[in-house]
């Protein structure tokens, strides 16, 4: 790679130091390392430290932001936060620097005759409102759309949903979380009837074994991974890394097991087979709390426009399920997956041991999967069969990658089918939302429109004419990107992009709005463990930058919805949050009041009788349980969770003689997603300045490719040239390559495939066929 080794070594030393500090903090809550934490602070600084959730990933670490003379100048971990106990990862420690990049957007820009011209915010907002009205008049309400993200604060997403679904009357509301955790949502909904994990991070302190399913936690969730390592030091817990590629997580794990892409489906079924065969089923639990179902198979992969799929669940018996699993003996699955029968039995034995508490953790591996919903179901199957669920340390735990993927996208419901409470398809849910939103119930369309991939296809086709993109960068992240970039640039499309820096997405915009970032405004995020965290405005945004919430409110008012958008500028966040809480005013999802959020380092929902709920569905901890039993899966009408019969099916595209390698894509620890913020932080950019392609050392040797050599990757969508990385950070299995997606100058998504899980509609970024050549 191009990174200089001295920079790399400094960076690695810093990572090693942070790992140790993190481990120390979990052993000694409140521990101080002043020298490290105050390094780089201005001498003699008189800082005002204020709490906030971290801006980056979904872990939701509590941070303290040091402000001096109106500028955020330092960050340290919040020792009062139960999430990170005073620690931060390398991105968190440098997060305030992301606000002060040289090319920060500070003025609205409007494209006139092919050139961007500075304008006033008033004029830009007027233009957006008039373009929306014009588009609706000429092409209908379903020709306008909004595409947000899991970085939207809760108020941002809430007003977007209210404006588009409640006032305009279109369900063209989507968010980039569709690309990262939609399969987790549909997994939860199909297995339990309610979204989001039943457990919490405290499970880490109780579990004996951690199984990481396609989850490079050491790089993607380093603070949580340090908590795992600390438990190993203290209690000797086991960490099993089950993945397609050897990573830093594999190197730190007690055991690394590699499987062939897509065959995690077969291995999960083989684990269930072993559990049943060896009599490890918790029969009382299964009998009392579980049903068995199967759905449709051979669903396709969503490759064609306007693809539709609806599953047709059908009840099956435990005996049927056992028969189904006969195709998944460890010996048979060894041949499909490349995982030895011995290793399958090794994993099954931990899940089956009644004296071991097991936590399964996963993120993009099972989610960005053409059978992502099934993979989520299968992990739950294992925990349900053994009754290892909803108790401290027994926890299937789906992690998220954005600070408010849970809080905003899943809880507010900024997806086409969702409402803050319930779904658009249900009359009673529409009536409930309409009452709070103060709109006629007829305004809310009962039919979902486009999921993310289809929304961009609709933009290409011309079915959508207006799109407002806030706080996300789809012109880097969309799979099969070229089609969607070309589509967005077609005549007759009007694109608004709200962001803090120029990106490939602002390049397609007709109007660019400068946004206020993170602590330049007030808001809330919701993390992976159902924790809602508040942050106050600490500094002024630059120039005319404005929060995404207020941009939407201003446009809504201009479109004639003053009654629904009654909020005042000074108090709108409190007003919006108070209104939003009404949607979840029940024991299953109650959100803590704002004054509680202000006082604490976040609070988990359901928040009932002044207390957070750590473990849902367990009567000992969850006041919503009402069936008189130990467990109550109240998301389903009969209170029972579902064990799903889901087979192994191949990926949409597999290697062949023309394209003989697997292409896998993902992230790196230095950069957060598309790098639009972290690439403007000098220390992170220097540590990882370019994209690259990782090759297996055996393949590289055979092809005479060494680190730094240019390599051409060709798929059926196009080609790209990247520098090689051999035997460095990650090591792919033979005939597989890995490319991170953070580098906008090396857009790997130009050549990925837009196949998706037919149930969740989440694309599979982990698998397509590629030809690899020395360039």
């Amino acid at each position: 790679m191009f990174t200089s080794l001295s920079n790399r070594r400094d960076f690695i030393k810093k990572m090693a130091k942070l790992s140790a500090i993190t481990a120390a903090a979990t052993m000694f809550p409140g521990i101080l390392f002043a020298e490290e934490q105050e390094q780089g602070l201005p001498k003699g600084a008189n800082l005002d430290w204020k709490k906030a959730p971290c801006r980056f990933c979904g872990v939701g670490c509590g941070v303290l932001v040091g402000v001096e003379n109106g500028k955020a100048v330092a960050v340290k971990g919040d020792p009062k936060s139960s999430v990170n106990k005073g620690l931060c990862c390398v991105k968190g420690y440098h997060s305030v620097m992301a606000m002060y990049g040289e090319d920060r957007l500070t003025k609205p820009l409007v494209k006139k005759n092919g050139t961007y011209v500075e304008t006033s915010m008033e004029e830009a907002l007027d233009l957006i409102a008039s373009k929306m009205k014009e588009t609706i008049k000429d092409h209908g309400k379903d020709a306008v759309s909004i595409y947000g993200s899991g970085q939207w604060t809760i108020p941002d997403g809430y007003v977007a949903s209210k404006l588009f679904k409640g006032c305009i009357g279109t369900n063209n509301v989507e968010a980039n979380a569709r690309l990262c955790m939609a399969s987790a949502v549909t997994g939860f909904l199909t297995s339990f009837g309610l979204d989001e994990p039943m457990g919490c991070y405290e499970d880490i302190d109780h579990a004996d074994v951690f199984v990481l399913w396609g989850n490079n936690m050491a790089e993607m969730h380093p603070v949580l991974f340090s908590r795992l390592l600390d438990q190993r030091l203290k209690r000797g817990v086991k960490i099993i890394d089950f993945a397609t590629r050897t990573t830093r997580t594999s190197m730190a794990a007690d055991k690394s097991i590699l499987f062939l892409p897509q065959t995690d489906l077969a291995v999960a079924n083989a684990i269930c087979y072993e559990i049943i065969k060896n009599g490890w089923v918790n029969e009382t639990f299964v009998q009392k709390h579980c049903n068995f179902s199967k759905g449709l198979t051979n669903m396709g992969y969503g490759l064609e426009d306007k693809y539709k799929f609806s599953d047709k669940p059908e009840a099956v018996s435990f005996e049927d399920f056992k028969k189904f699993l006969n195709d998944y003996t460890p010996e048979k699955v060894e041949k499909i997956s490349g995982v030895s029968a011995k290793d399958i039995k090794y994993m099954a034995a931990y899940y089956g041991d009644p004296n071991k508490k097991v936590m399964s953790l996963w993120c993009m591996g099972p989610n960005q999967h053409s059978r992502g919903t099934w993979m989520n179901n299968l992990i739950y199957n294992i925990h349900l069969l053994t009754g290892k669920i909803s108790t401290p340390g027994n926890s299937p735990f789906s992690l998220t990658g954005q600070p408010s993927a849970c809080g905003t996208v899943r809880e507010v419901g900024t997806l086409t089918h969702k409402l803050p409470h319930g779904v658009v398809m249900k009359k009673e849910h529409r009536e409930f939302a309409a009452k709070i939103w103060d709109v006629p119930v007829e305004n809310i369309d009962p039919k979902p429109t486009y999921h993310t991939v289809e929304m961009f296809r609709a933009l290409d086709r011309g079915d959508i004419r207006f799109m407002w993109i806030q706080v996300t960068n789809p012109m880097v992240t969309m799979p099969k990107l070229k089609r969607y970039r070309d589509g967005a640039k077609k005549e007759g499309r009007f694109i608004v992009v709200s962001d803090i820096y120029p990106t490939p997405t602002t390049d397609i915009a007709d109007v660019i709005l400068p946004s206020a970032m993170w602590v330049e405004r007030e808001g809330m995020y919701g993390n992976s463990e159902r924790r809602t965290q508040y942050f106050e405005q600490m500094v002024e945004p630059p120039g005319e930058a404005m929060s995404d919430t207020w941009q939407l409110v201003e446009v809504a008012k201009r479109m004639g919805y003053e009654k629904q958008f009654y909020y005042t500028e000074e108090t709108h966040i409190e007003e919006i949050y108070t209104e939003y809480r009404r949607h979840h005013d029940n024991k299953k999802h109650n959100m803590a009041p704002l004054e509680v959020l202000k006082e604490h380092s976040g609070m988990q929902w359901p928040y009932v009788d002044g207390k957070p709920t750590k473990w849902r569905f367990n009567a000992k901890y969850d006041p919503a349980c009402s069936n008189g039993e130990e467990f109550h899966f109240y998301g389903k009408p009969d209170g029972k969770a579902i064990i799903w019969q889901r087979p192994y099916e191949p990926a949409a595209e597999s290697p062949d003689s023309e394209y003989p390698f697997w292409l896998n894509t993902g992230r790196v620890v230095e950069h957060w997603h598309t790098g639009s913020m972290t690439r403007r932080i000098p220390v992170l950019h220097r540590a990882m300045p370019h994209g690259y392609v990782e090759l297996n050392p055996g393949d590289a040797k055979r092809m005479q490719i060494r680190t730094g050599d240019n390599v051409k990757l060709t798929t059926r969508r196009g080609e790209i040239v990247l520098p090689a990385s051999v035997n460095e950070r990650g090591v792919p299995a033979p005939m597989q390559v890995f490319v991170p997606f953070f580098d906008e100058n090396m857009l790997i998504n130009d050549i990925t495939l837009d196949s998706f899980c037919p149930i969740s509609k989440e694309p599979d970024y982990k698998k397509c066929a590629v030809k690899v050549e020395k360039a």
Binding site: L5, R9, A16, K17, S19, A20, A24, G30
Partner: protein, 79 residues
């Protein structure tokens, strides 16, 4: 070229002595906690052989009660 990080726990009342001893080793970066009896140590050595020798030196320090490795990275050798 291994880089490793450790938590070094001093013998009772020997934290300062341990900080001094660790700081004297060229391959070690030392970061003591201000309010707990624990010291973060990051080691940076040429190769596995040097790493083993250093580890022996660390374990031989009298004021050290426990040396627990937290993370280890092995980077390509500078050419």
């Amino acid at each position: 070229m291994p880089i490793k990080s450790y938590l070094a726990h001093p013998q009772r009342g020997k934290k300062e002595e341990l900080i001094q001893a660790l700081s004297a080793l060229q391959e070690c970066d030392v970061l003591p906690s201000q309010n707990e009896e624990v010291i973060v140590v990051v080691t940076d050595t040429e190769d596995e052989d040097h790493e083993k020798k250093l580890r022996k030196k660390l374990e031989d320090i009298d004021s050290i009660k426990l040396l627990a490795m937290v993370s280890g990275f092995n980077t390509p050798q500078k050419k």
